[in-house]
């Protein structure tokens, strides 16, 4: 007996065994893991979770692994910050941030990758791989190294230098593809198809991989003492993360770990590549975007596979979606860093900028308990941020030189400008 029955098509319900497969043979729809919820309910408890590892694996009863073998670098079990200062600036009484920038390779992708590579080991594969805009590449590189498996990583050729340095250092085979992420993903799909004993974490073993993102919801609820927020905001690339977070809350309600999963789910995408947000705002079909240019490379997916489900999840829950500009996103990175001491990359800036817009438009109310998911670390995108930062003044090592610098008045709610050299 197991907690996993098999795989099931999200579109037509066709069922399959738990093998390496991500697409339904009947309708090309996406497959998801089909759990035995009675078995899970009988085996899980808050006490068991509390005494579990300080990582996503405390939630192993809700993840699709059969064996005890884990490739675990310690993803998850991250701090849910009570963001008093950012909340005050934005006009929110109770705001929390789950800071994913502190994961082993500094993004939430460590959660999904730990699950996927552990599952790949169960499938006894010869190699692992992925298509990535950067964060997943690093996570796969690191976890493949930990597992001792070769890795093949397909990236668009234009992503941030910091992410390229990070993925290369783990020693995988990195293939930079001329074109967009969509082009890199399509090629990786064809490679996966011709190498059935390679596990591409976000392609042919995607149903297992996406389960890792549910742990963001589990951790939020556990740190809120097994209650749920009123509203969450997440960034959207393919839409899979947002859908998994929603699913995570619903599962907790299903097995009785929380009383209610009545959470409004809102999303944010950069204005220049926002197929899902636009569909939510206009209540229209998700139309793929062909040409786009944004600084938010990690969310730049023109044809999001989970777009339809993300839109439905948002609208069904009473949430909404925002489309901040690249400038608003940079400002939000600064705002988050200066109020809460968290340095995020543009995807995290997109979430905070989206939160700000949703509060301003009235889609999020002052008295709602809000959680935002800040998904990656700003150190990976330093080249993007350089232009918006002022170099520090260089002065002679004399007290009198320091005292000549202009120092602004202190205001605990305002942004602090950096010290400026007098001209």
């Amino acid at each position: 007996m197991s907690h996993v029955i098999g795989l099931k098509c999200r579109e037509c319900g066709a069922e399959y065994p738990a093998v390496i497969q991500n697409t339904c043979y009947e309708c090309f729809g996406p497959l998801e893991v089909n759990y035995d919820w009675d078995y899970i309910s009988d085996h899980i408890s808050k006490e068991k979770i509390t005494s579990g590892p300080k990582s996503i694996w405390r939630y192993a009863d809700l993840l699709p692994l059969e064996s005890e073998k884990r490739i675990d670098l310690g993803a998850g079990f991250n701090k849910l910050h009570h963001a008093h200062r950012l909340g005050a600036v934005l006009g929110l009484d109770e705001l929390y941030i789950l800071d994913e920038s502190v994961n082993p390779t500094n993004s939430f992708k460590d959660r999904v990758t730990s699950v996927a590579i552990s599952k790949a080991i169960e499938f006894n594969v010869k190699a692992v791989g992925c298509a990535s805009t950067g964060n997943l590449a690093a996570a796969v590189g690191a976890h493949a190294a930990k597992a001792g498996l070769p890795a093949y990583i397909f990236i668009p050729s234009n992503i941030e230098l910091g992410k390229i340095v990070q993925m290369l250092v783990y020693g995988p085979n990195v293939i930079a593809v001329e074109g967009t992420y969509d082009d890199a993903n399509r090629l990786a799909s064809e490679v996966a198809d011709s190498h059935p004993d390679w596990a591409f974490v976000n392609i042919n073993i995607r149903p297992y991989y996406t389960e890792g993102s549910k742990t963001l919801a589990y951790e939020t609820a556990e740190q809120l003492d097994w209650t749920v927020p009123d509203h969450i905001v997440a960034p959207m690339a393919s839409g899979a993360l947002l859908c998994a977070i929603s699913r995570g809350y619903k599962e907790l309600e299903r097995i009785g770990l929380v009383d209610s999963a009545d959470v409004k789910i809102s999303g944010s995408q950069p204005l220049n590549c926002s197929p899902i947000s636009c569909a939510v705002q206009n209540n229209s079909e998700v139309v793929p975007v062909r040409k786009f240019e944004t600084i938010v490379h990690s969310l730049a997916i023109g044809n999001p596979a989970d777009g339809y489900y993300a839109k439905k999840t948002i609208l069904d829950s009473g949430g909404f979606a925002a489309t901040p500009t690249d400038e608003e996103i940079i400002e939000a990175i600064h705002l988050l860093a200066r109020t809460e001491g968290i340095f995020t990359e543009p995807a995290g800036g997109t979430t905070v900028a989206g939160l700000k817009k949703l509060v301003e438009s009235g889609h999020i109310q002052r008295d709602e308990r809000v959680v935002v998911y800040v998904t990656g670390n700003g150190l990976k995108a330093q080249d993007t941020l350089l232009k918006s930062l002022q170099r520090p003044p260089v002065i002679k090592p004399m007290l009198s030189e320091f005292e000549k610098l202009e120092t602004p008045k202190l205001d605990i709610h305002a942004h602090k400008e950096p010290l400026l050299a007098r001209t």
């Binding site: 579109e11 991500n22 697409t23 043979y25 009947e26 309708c27 090309f28 729809g29 996406p30 992925c130 298509a131 990535s132 805009t133 997943l136 590449a137 992420y181 969509d182 082009d183 993903n185 399509r186 799909s189 198809d193 976000n202 392609i203 995607r206 690339a237 393919s238 839409g239 899979a240 993360l241 139309v287 793929p288 062909r290 997916i301 023109g302 044809n303 999001p304 596979a305 989970d306 339809y308």
Partner: protein
Amino acid sequence: MSNVTHARETTLDIGDTTVKTVLDNLIKQFGPDFEKRILDKGEVRRFVNLYVNGEDIRHLKGLDSAVKSADEISILPAVSGG
């Protein structure tokens, strides 16, 4: 699709045409099992992506997109994130 077509690729010799005509030919060749996986009430299914020389047909003219005799048509599931 190879569970229905028993091949990863196939070649048609029908000259300059449209995507719709190519599909009609493939349906004649591979039967209703092929059709029901690609189309739902005559429209391309939500999770099926059709490309002509790497260009998504939704950015061209949909099923009426032009296909020249040496063009390559790909049928792939939707793009997942990373």
